[in-house]
């Protein structure tokens, strides 16, 4: 398919040869291991891989497992709040910063630094801040609110929300950067024209600017959804899935089954479900991106 504009090498095989090892390795790594994991998920594997075919038995067990549904529900809560709050806060910060603010660079740096840290680091830090005895609770009591309690971290009904807090804190600066880049790409003359027509600033944002950020919304959504489904470190560091398994998510469920509970087949089945979820979001996106580029 090499078009006339593509340079033709003197040794036509060389580029292929150079690319071959990476392609072969990454295809084995991506598709080979996906297939292998898929096979494990329909096998009788427990403590050790066992290649006896058992059909969908592992999936039946998975969907009968209360712990899996807790994990899936937690991912739902976490995903919706993490994406929703992260986007809202990120967009809000981007709009504020877009008002020709002095020291914009410094503020941007501050909002974005959490993204440079490991989830394990931020999880450890938030675990201390949210510590029911000595953390935030203590601070607010010190301000005179003697009966203030904040025990979400150890409360089975609320533990997953502490993961949302830490997750939003970690990623909203990044969302802000994406939206700010989008805002800067908008043609000033449209805004000027609206101002001449007497539209107020909030109205201009609501009616003109935000609607034109469609593609940015979409890629932000994609990235955040992807982070949410894969999130593992943050949960481990903050709550370790606890109390009990109240803040488990599919990623921690998979790890527990595959590596500490001796349920390899079940772990593989849960990983396949995670893969299917991400593929449902990402494949259409990749497909459309690659098509438009041709």
């Amino acid at each position: 398919m090499s078009s006339p504009s593509t340079p033709r090498p003197n040794q036509p095989w060389l580029p292929k040869l150079v690319l071959a090892p990476s392609f072969i390795l990454s295809f084995l790594f991506i598709y080979g291991l996906i297939a292998w994991n898929g096979y494990l998920s329909v096998s009788a594997s427990r403590l050790l891989p066992n290649y006896e075919f058992v059909g969908l038995e592992q999936y039946v067990t998975l969907f009968d497992s209360e712990r899996w549904w807790v994990a899936a529900k937690n991912l739902g809560i976490f995903g919706v709040l993490f994406i929703g709050c992260g986007m809202a806060l990120g967009l809000f910060l981007a709009i504020l910063l877009d008002q020709k603010i002095r020291a914009e660079g410094a503020l941007r740096t501050i909002y974005l630094y959490p993204m440079a840290l490991s989830f394990i680091v931020t999880g450890t830090a938030w675990k201390w801040i949210l510590n029911p005895g000595l953390g935030l609770e203590n601070v607010v009591r010190g301000w005179g609110f003697e009966n203030f309690t904040f025990d979400w971290l150890i409360n089975p009904d609320y533990a997953i929300y502490t993961v949302v807090i830490a997750g939003v804190w970690q990623s909203s600066g990044f969302v802000m950067a994406l939206f700010l880049a989008g805002l800067r790409g908008i043609d000033d003359s449209i805004i000027k024209a609206a101002q001449v027509d007497g539209a107020s600033l909030p109205r201009i944002y609501l009616r003109i600017i935000i609607p034109s950020l469609g593609p940015v919304f979409f890629s932000t959504l994609l990235v955040l959804a992807h982070i949410a489904i894969k999130s593992f470190d943050l949960v481990i560091a903050l709550t370790n899935g606890g109390p009990g398994y109240a803040s488990d998510v599919p990623a921690t469920y998979m790890y527990a089954m595959a590596f500490s509970r001796g349920q390899i087949g079940l772990g593989a089945a849960s990983a396949t479900i995670m893969l299917a979820t991400i593929a449902a979001i990402v494949v259409p996106y990749l497909y459309s991106e690659l098509r438009t580029k041709r």
Binding site: V18, L19, F23, F29, I30, L97
Partner: protein, 282 residues
Amino acid sequence: MQNFHRFVIWSLLLGFAAIFLAPLYVMLVTSLKDMNEIRSGGLLSLPGSPTLDAWAKAWSSACTGTDCGGLKPFFTNSALMVVPAVLVSTALGAVNGYVISKWRFRGSELMFGLMLFGVFMPMQVVLLPMSQVLGWLGISSSLWGLIFVHVLAGIPSTTLFFRNYYVGLPDELIKAAMLDGAGFWRIFWRIVLPLSAPILVVTLIWQFTNIWNDFLYGVVFSGGDSKPVTVGLNNLANTSSVVKEYNVDMAAAMIAALPTLAIYVIAGKYFVRGLTAGAVKG
């Protein structure tokens, strides 16, 4: 009216800045306090008599599980792992991107598209088979195994970065060099690579941060003496002892965060570029 608006915007921005900085501040001040001061409360208060004892303990004598050698061996592991993994994955990405963008052949774009899925794939799906593969290769529970996995996992994103950058380099450059008789590698070394500084920095930083911050591979594929610093930190913070030493936990968290924080402060611009390049271009 205009001034009032400015005032509101500024207050909001500064308020959020304070919230964003608070965890770092809390980590820092807690790490400089002793346990008596921590127990008397005051999450936000400055340390009365700052001491680096907790840092020293976190570095060399805090217990992670049953070992009590501090974070030092874990930190060393991470450093030993991150350097080759970053260099190899970046080099492969550069060469791949060069071929895919400048020496296209039948099917190369399709293969690139298939490879892109690797950027998004949930790693949970490769964990179980990968641990078997590492066993066969004889590198399970070793730093080599971790390096191998990080290189493999990094190839799709490094290839993506370089490919997107090289697409922007004019093809005429390559053609002119070919007319002068330069071959495939000569063009790469003499023309393409010298023009690659910006994307090289972005990719190096991106890979460094990702690999340094990784926990999942570290916890699954490392053995007793090859655990990276994130695993060490997590073990340290979860080691139950009679007295929970929050100051040591926070010092350890700071130690684990310092390399990527330093890069962010020094080269934040490139870090952000890497983030956005990985996010919006597919």
